[in-house]
Protein backbone atom coordinates (compact mmCIF):
# COMPACT_ATOMS: atom_id res chain seq x y z
CA UNK A 1 0.00 0.00 0.00
CA UNK A 2 3.05 2.19 0.35
CA UNK A 3 3.22 2.87 -3.36
CA UNK A 4 -0.51 3.55 -3.49
CA UNK A 5 0.00 6.45 -1.13
CA UNK A 6 2.72 7.76 -3.43
CA UNK A 7 0.19 7.51 -6.30
CA UNK A 8 -2.16 9.66 -4.25
CA UNK A 9 0.73 12.05 -3.55
CA UNK A 10 1.31 12.35 -7.32
CA UNK A 11 -2.37 13.12 -7.94
CA UNK A 12 -2.38 15.59 -5.07
CA UNK A 13 0.64 17.42 -6.49
CA UNK A 14 -1.28 17.70 -9.77
CA UNK A 15 -4.33 19.14 -7.99
CA UNK A 16 -2.10 21.87 -6.54
CA UNK A 17 -0.44 22.56 -9.90
CA UNK A 18 -3.77 22.77 -11.75
CA UNK A 19 -5.15 25.09 -9.08
CA UNK A 20 -2.17 27.41 -9.60
CA UNK A 21 -2.88 27.33 -13.36
CA UNK A 22 -6.52 28.26 -12.81
CA UNK A 23 -5.46 31.06 -10.45
CA UNK A 24 -3.03 32.42 -13.07
CA UNK A 25 -5.73 32.32 -15.77
CA UNK A 26 -8.22 34.09 -13.49
CA UNK A 27 -5.64 36.73 -12.60
CA UNK A 28 -4.89 37.25 -16.31
CA UNK A 29 -8.59 37.60 -17.14
CA UNK A 30 -9.18 39.99 -14.24
CA UNK A 31 -6.33 42.21 -15.37
CA UNK A 32 -7.06 42.12 -19.10
CA UNK A 33 -7.56 45.89 -19.05
CA UNK A 34 -5.15 46.93 -16.28
CA UNK A 35 -2.92 49.61 -17.75
CA UNK A 36 -1.01 50.23 -14.52
CA UNK A 37 0.82 47.54 -12.59
CA UNK A 38 2.89 48.04 -9.43
CA UNK A 39 5.84 49.26 -11.53
CA UNK A 40 3.69 51.65 -13.57
CA UNK A 41 3.70 49.53 -16.76
CA UNK A 42 0.66 47.56 -17.97
CA UNK A 43 -0.01 44.13 -16.47
CA UNK A 44 1.88 41.30 -18.14
CA UNK A 45 0.24 37.93 -18.77
CA UNK A 46 1.39 35.26 -16.30
CA UNK A 47 2.20 31.75 -17.33
CA UNK A 48 2.71 28.75 -15.06
CA UNK A 49 5.66 26.44 -15.77
CA UNK A 50 5.08 22.81 -14.77
CA UNK A 51 7.81 20.29 -14.16
CA UNK A 52 7.70 16.52 -13.55
CA UNK A 53 9.06 15.46 -10.17
CA UNK A 54 9.18 11.98 -8.61
CA UNK A 55 7.23 11.63 -5.37
CA UNK A 56 7.48 9.01 -2.64
CA UNK A 57 11.29 8.75 -2.40
CA UNK A 58 10.88 6.78 0.81
CA UNK A 59 8.99 4.00 -1.02
CA UNK A 60 11.83 3.76 -3.53
CA UNK A 61 14.41 3.57 -0.74
CA UNK A 62 12.70 0.60 0.85
CA UNK A 63 12.38 -1.16 -2.52
CA UNK A 64 8.85 -0.08 -3.32
CA UNK A 65 9.61 0.00 -7.05
CA UNK A 66 9.09 2.80 -9.51
CA UNK A 67 8.38 6.15 -7.87
CA UNK A 68 5.22 7.87 -9.05
CA UNK A 69 5.78 10.91 -11.26
CA UNK A 70 4.31 13.92 -9.54
CA UNK A 71 4.30 17.43 -10.86
CA UNK A 72 5.36 20.73 -9.38
CA UNK A 73 5.08 24.35 -10.31
CA UNK A 74 8.60 25.28 -11.41
CA UNK A 75 7.69 28.94 -11.49
CA UNK A 76 5.31 31.59 -12.68
CA UNK A 77 6.78 33.59 -15.55
CA UNK A 78 5.65 36.78 -17.20
CA UNK A 79 4.81 36.64 -20.89
CA UNK A 80 7.25 38.95 -22.71
CA UNK A 81 4.97 39.27 -25.74
CA UNK A 82 4.42 42.93 -26.78
CA UNK A 83 1.49 44.85 -25.32
CA UNK A 84 -1.62 45.43 -27.36
CA UNK A 85 -2.13 49.02 -28.52
CA UNK A 86 -5.47 50.70 -28.69
CA UNK A 87 -6.17 54.22 -29.98
CA UNK A 88 -7.84 56.08 -27.10
CA UNK A 89 -6.48 59.63 -26.75
CA UNK A 90 -8.77 60.44 -23.83
CA UNK A 91 -7.16 57.76 -21.63
CA UNK A 92 -4.79 59.16 -18.96
CA UNK A 93 -2.17 56.51 -19.85
CA UNK A 94 -2.22 57.28 -23.58
CA UNK A 95 1.13 58.12 -25.19
CA UNK A 96 1.84 61.21 -27.31
CA UNK A 97 0.21 59.60 -30.38
CA UNK A 98 -2.95 58.74 -28.44
CA UNK A 99 -2.30 55.00 -28.12
CA UNK A 100 -2.80 53.11 -24.85
CA UNK A 101 -0.66 50.05 -24.13
CA UNK A 102 -2.95 47.27 -22.90
CA UNK A 103 -1.90 43.96 -21.26
CA UNK A 104 -0.81 41.15 -23.57
CA UNK A 105 -3.76 39.02 -22.44
CA UNK A 106 -5.88 37.12 -24.96
CA UNK A 107 -9.18 36.37 -23.25
CA UNK A 108 -10.02 33.38 -25.49
CA UNK A 109 -6.62 31.84 -24.73
CA UNK A 110 -7.16 32.27 -20.98
CA UNK A 111 -10.59 30.65 -21.15
CA UNK A 112 -9.21 27.63 -23.03
CA UNK A 113 -6.33 27.36 -20.55
CA UNK A 114 -8.76 27.50 -17.63
CA UNK A 115 -10.98 24.79 -19.15
CA UNK A 116 -7.96 22.55 -19.72
CA UNK A 117 -6.78 23.03 -16.14
CA UNK A 118 -10.28 22.35 -14.77
CA UNK A 119 -10.54 19.11 -16.79
CA UNK A 120 -7.10 17.99 -15.60
CA UNK A 121 -8.15 18.77 -12.02
CA UNK A 122 -11.26 16.60 -12.44
CA UNK A 123 -9.23 13.76 -13.97
CA UNK A 124 -6.82 13.74 -11.02
CA UNK A 125 -9.72 13.82 -8.59
CA UNK A 126 -11.17 10.72 -10.32
CA UNK A 127 -7.74 9.10 -10.05
CA UNK A 128 -7.68 9.70 -6.29
CA UNK A 129 -11.16 8.16 -5.98
CA UNK A 130 -10.00 5.06 -7.89
CA UNK A 131 -6.88 4.67 -5.76
CA UNK A 132 -8.96 5.09 -2.62
CA UNK A 133 -11.22 2.25 -3.77
CA UNK A 134 -8.17 0.01 -4.25
CA UNK A 135 -6.88 0.84 -0.76
CA UNK A 136 -10.33 0.07 0.61
CA UNK A 137 -10.27 -3.34 -1.11
CA UNK A 138 -6.83 -4.04 0.34
CA UNK A 139 -8.10 -3.26 3.84
CA UNK A 140 -11.02 -5.67 3.36
CA UNK A 141 -8.49 -8.52 3.34
CA UNK A 142 -8.26 -8.19 7.10
CA UNK A 143 -11.97 -8.78 7.64
Amino acid sequence: MGTLTSAIAASRSALTAERVRIEAAVSNLANAESTRGPDGTPYRRRDVVLEAQPVGPFDTLVGGGTPAAGVRVAGVVEDRAPFQRRYQPSHPDADAEGFVALPNVDQAEEMVDMLGAARAYQANLSAITLIRDVIQRALELGK
Partner: protein, 114 residues
Protein backbone atom coordinates in the same frame (compact mmCIF):
# COMPACT_ATOMS: atom_id res chain seq x y z
CA UNK B 1 -1.96 -7.37 -6.79
CA UNK B 2 1.51 -5.79 -6.82
CA UNK B 3 1.35 -5.43 -10.59
CA UNK B 4 -2.11 -3.83 -10.42
CA UNK B 5 -0.71 -1.37 -7.87
CA UNK B 6 2.33 -0.65 -10.06
CA UNK B 7 0.05 0.08 -13.03
CA UNK B 8 -2.08 2.31 -10.84
CA UNK B 9 0.97 4.26 -9.63
CA UNK B 10 2.33 4.76 -13.15
CA UNK B 11 -1.06 5.87 -14.52
CA UNK B 12 -1.48 8.31 -11.61
CA UNK B 13 1.93 9.78 -12.43
CA UNK B 14 0.94 10.18 -16.07
CA UNK B 15 -2.31 11.89 -15.13
CA UNK B 16 -0.48 14.23 -12.78
CA UNK B 17 1.72 15.29 -15.70
CA UNK B 18 -1.15 15.78 -18.13
CA UNK B 19 0.01 19.35 -18.79
CA UNK B 20 3.77 19.11 -18.25
CA UNK B 21 5.52 20.08 -21.49
CA UNK B 22 7.77 17.36 -22.87
CA UNK B 23 6.57 14.68 -20.46
CA UNK B 24 6.53 11.18 -22.00
CA UNK B 25 3.73 8.88 -20.84
CA UNK B 26 5.02 5.79 -19.03
CA UNK B 27 3.55 2.31 -18.91
CA UNK B 28 4.33 -0.84 -17.00
CA UNK B 29 6.73 -3.05 -18.93
CA UNK B 30 4.57 -6.17 -18.55
CA UNK B 31 7.19 -8.60 -19.86
CA UNK B 32 9.70 -7.23 -17.35
CA UNK B 33 7.13 -7.41 -14.57
CA UNK B 34 6.42 -11.05 -15.49
CA UNK B 35 10.16 -11.79 -15.52
CA UNK B 36 10.53 -10.33 -12.05
CA UNK B 37 7.78 -12.70 -10.83
CA UNK B 38 8.94 -15.93 -12.45
CA UNK B 39 12.59 -14.87 -12.16
CA UNK B 40 12.48 -16.25 -8.61
CA UNK B 41 12.42 -19.82 -9.97
CA UNK B 42 15.79 -21.51 -9.58
CA UNK B 43 17.33 -24.03 -11.89
CA UNK B 44 17.91 -27.39 -10.27
CA UNK B 45 21.60 -27.94 -9.54
CA UNK B 46 22.36 -31.62 -9.80
CA UNK B 47 26.13 -31.20 -9.66
CA UNK B 48 28.36 -29.13 -7.41
CA UNK B 49 29.86 -27.51 -10.53
CA UNK B 50 26.55 -25.89 -11.57
CA UNK B 51 26.41 -22.15 -11.26
CA UNK B 52 23.21 -20.66 -9.86
CA UNK B 53 21.00 -18.76 -12.32
CA UNK B 54 21.21 -14.99 -12.14
CA UNK B 55 18.46 -13.55 -9.95
CA UNK B 56 15.54 -11.95 -11.80
CA UNK B 57 15.04 -8.22 -11.74
CA UNK B 58 13.26 -7.14 -8.57
CA UNK B 59 11.94 -3.67 -9.29
CA UNK B 60 9.04 -3.35 -11.72
CA UNK B 61 10.22 -1.32 -14.68
CA UNK B 62 8.30 1.43 -16.41
CA UNK B 63 8.92 2.30 -20.02
CA UNK B 64 7.94 4.97 -22.49
CA UNK B 65 4.39 4.26 -23.64
CA UNK B 66 5.07 5.76 -27.05
CA UNK B 67 2.29 7.58 -28.86
CA UNK B 68 2.52 10.74 -30.86
CA UNK B 69 3.37 13.87 -28.89
CA UNK B 70 1.13 16.92 -28.76
CA UNK B 71 2.53 20.30 -29.69
CA UNK B 72 4.15 20.67 -26.26
CA UNK B 73 5.91 17.28 -26.60
CA UNK B 74 3.62 15.60 -24.06
CA UNK B 75 2.29 12.12 -24.90
CA UNK B 76 -0.23 11.60 -22.06
CA UNK B 77 -3.73 10.63 -23.19
CA UNK B 78 -6.36 11.36 -20.57
CA UNK B 79 -8.82 8.61 -21.60
CA UNK B 80 -6.09 6.00 -21.85
CA UNK B 81 -4.77 6.72 -18.34
CA UNK B 82 -8.22 6.72 -16.72
CA UNK B 83 -8.98 3.43 -18.51
CA UNK B 84 -5.72 1.93 -17.23
CA UNK B 85 -6.55 3.02 -13.70
CA UNK B 86 -10.06 1.54 -13.86
CA UNK B 87 -8.68 -1.67 -15.35
CA UNK B 88 -5.97 -1.95 -12.68
CA UNK B 89 -8.53 -1.32 -9.93
CA UNK B 90 -10.62 -4.17 -11.39
CA UNK B 91 -7.59 -6.48 -11.55
CA UNK B 92 -6.78 -5.62 -7.96
CA UNK B 93 -10.34 -6.42 -6.88
CA UNK B 94 -10.17 -9.79 -8.67
CA UNK B 95 -6.88 -10.71 -6.99
CA UNK B 96 -8.18 -9.48 -3.65
CA UNK B 97 -11.28 -11.70 -3.94
CA UNK B 98 -9.13 -14.74 -4.67
CA UNK B 99 -6.75 -14.00 -1.79
CA UNK B 100 -9.64 -13.34 0.60
CA UNK B 101 -11.13 -16.75 -0.32
CA UNK B 102 -7.79 -18.38 0.45
CA UNK B 103 -7.62 -16.63 3.82
CA UNK B 104 -11.20 -17.79 4.58
CA UNK B 105 -10.14 -21.37 3.97
CA UNK B 106 -7.18 -20.97 6.34
CA UNK B 107 -9.43 -19.45 8.98
CA UNK B 108 -11.93 -22.30 8.50
CA UNK B 109 -9.14 -24.82 9.04
CA UNK B 110 -7.86 -22.94 12.09
CA UNK B 111 -11.29 -22.95 13.69
CA UNK B 112 -11.55 -26.71 13.02
CA UNK B 113 -14.46 -26.31 10.66
CA UNK B 114 -16.68 -24.43 13.07
Amino acid sequence: MSIAVARQVIAAGNLANLDTPGFRAQELAFDKALDSRVGGLQLASTSAGHLPAAPGPQAVAARDAGGSPRRDGNTVQLDRELLTMTEAAGDFAKAQTALAAKFRLVRYALSEGR
